[in-house]
């Protein structure tokens, strides 16, 4: 097993920059409120302010130097950084979406070969948003599109079609958040079935259902099984480790005959209070890990080859020298 692990390539398809400047304060406070609720029920004096400070202490890595160190320790060779555009739904983010794009570009330049970026733009930005997204592909070398429906729109909203047309043109994948998120946002657009129309209308665009191993699992599996251009990522499995330390959610998803559609991801830095990237990889690839029953071909698909296949389809608008 150790020899097997040492030769494996791992690509993390779902990460974010650990810096509060990319995340609205109300988003963080909403997430903290859920933790405070759980701890308060135990009679613990867990003030939201204190919890927020603890959470923010893990959000001090704006250039991803810490993430790169954790990736190296975990054997992760590359990660996809995702930009969610909260700007129409929540107004208290330190950076504008354009500034956020530029900061992600800075990270790409600082760590060549370590990252790809999928930029996200709220469809309510209209033509300005489309122009920014196209610029991100042409000027910044971003390699995909991130959609965050809890900001208040369906992933099949016609306002997104110009973005999907660009993704079709450049053969870039789209990653869509599925399931609940910070209570500051709207959960009603978080169902994977809302992706169906877009996946049907844009059959040459690949859609990745984020958190598909833990949210709306049956629906995500059904979409992956019956839509050739729909995939899922397993990020968020760390949320299940409290009641299922062997990551049964992942073991389940890789036992359903759709391993050509399953992508490894961690949602860094969301679970940084719980462990480091190496811990989260070990849970899957260790001797009794959730991927332990797979053959090497299946492991490779889940850990890297599915991500690689989607990224290699892309027609990069920027060639890095």
């Amino acid at each position: 097993m150790d020899e097997q692990k040492s030769t494996e390539t791992i690509i993390d398809c779902h990460c974010h920059i650990a810096s509060e400047e990319h995340v609205p304060r109300s988003f963080i406070e909403g997430s903290v409120a859920n933790i405070a609720s759980a701890l308060g029920a135990q009679g613990l004096p867990a003030s939201p302010r204190k919890l927020r400070d603890m959470f923010l202490s893990k959000m001090q890595d704006p250039m991803c130097d810490g993430l790169v160190r954790e990736m190296e320790a975990a054997g992760i060779s590359k990660a996809i950084l995702l930009i969610a555009d909260f700007s129409c739904a929540l107004k208290d983010c330190a950076l504008t979406i354009e500034e956020s794009f530029k900061k992600h570009h800075d990270v790409l330049l600082r760590h060549p070969g370590k990252f790809e970026v999928f930029g996200g733009v709220d469809p309510r930005w209209g033509t300005d948003g489309v122009a920014l997204f196209e610029r991100s592909l042409i000027e910044f070398g971003f390699m995909g599109f991130k959609v965050y429906p809890p900001c208040g729109f369906s992933p099949s909203d016609p306002g997104l079609f110009p973005y999907y047309e660009l993704c079709a043109q450049y053969q870039m994948p789209v990653l869509i958040h599925i399931g609940p998120t910070s209570p500051a946002l709207n959960f009603e657009f978080a169902s994977p079935f809302l992706v169906d129309e877009a996946a049907r209308l844009f059959p040459t665009v690949d859609f990745i259902l984020a958190h598909g191993a833990v949210n709306f699992v049956e629906e995500c599996v059904m979409m992956c099984r019956f839509r050739p251009n729909v995939y899922l990522d397993i990020s968020g499995y760390q949320s299940t480790l409290g009641y299922d330390p062997l990551a049964g959610a992942v073991k389940n998803i890789v036992s359903l005959g759709i391993n050509h559609k399953v992508l490894f991801g961690t949602d860094f830095p969301v679970f940084r209070l719980q462990g480091e990237q190496a811990d989260f990889v070990e849970v899957l690839t260790g001797p009794d890990g959730a991927l332990g029953h797979l053959n090497q071909r299946e492991r490779d698909l889940v850990l890297s080859k599915n991500s690689t296949r989607l990224l290699e389809k892309s027609v990069p608008a920027v060639v890095w020298s």
């Binding site: 701890l39 893990k58 409290g242 330390p245 062997l246």
Partner: protein
């Protein structure tokens, strides 16, 4: 690190108080893994931290010590961290009176 059995017992009892019921029968020794064997996820670890602060009447942030919660893997890691915090706070670990 030198600690008394009493101090270790206090910390182990704090761990036991934070462990989900599903794992209540797991024997807690210094090598026990917090997440993998005791099911302590991020909320579980935070619960442990707050129980510790309450029990020892201490505010870790005020002590001026940086504990990387993500690196707490075993009960022994926890004992070491607890020892560091209390020592830094000027408390005598081996004669520590707790309020839990």
């Amino acid at each position: 690190m030198e600690v008394t059995a009493g101090f270790e017992e206090k910390i182990v009892s704090l761990v036991a108080a934070s462990v989900p019921g599903k794992f209540r029968n797991v024997k807690i020794v210094s090598e026990t893994l917090l997440q993998k064997e005791l099911g302590l996820d991020s909320i579980g670890i935070l619960s442990l931290v707050f129980h510790f602060e309450e029990t020892f009447s201490i505010d870790i942030a005020q002590v001026g010590i940086e504990i990387n919660i993500a690196k707490l893997r075993t009960v022994n890691d926890l004992l070491t961290a607890a020892h560091e915090i209390l020592t830094k706070a000027g408390r005598d670990v081996n004669h520590e009176d707790c309020h839990g």
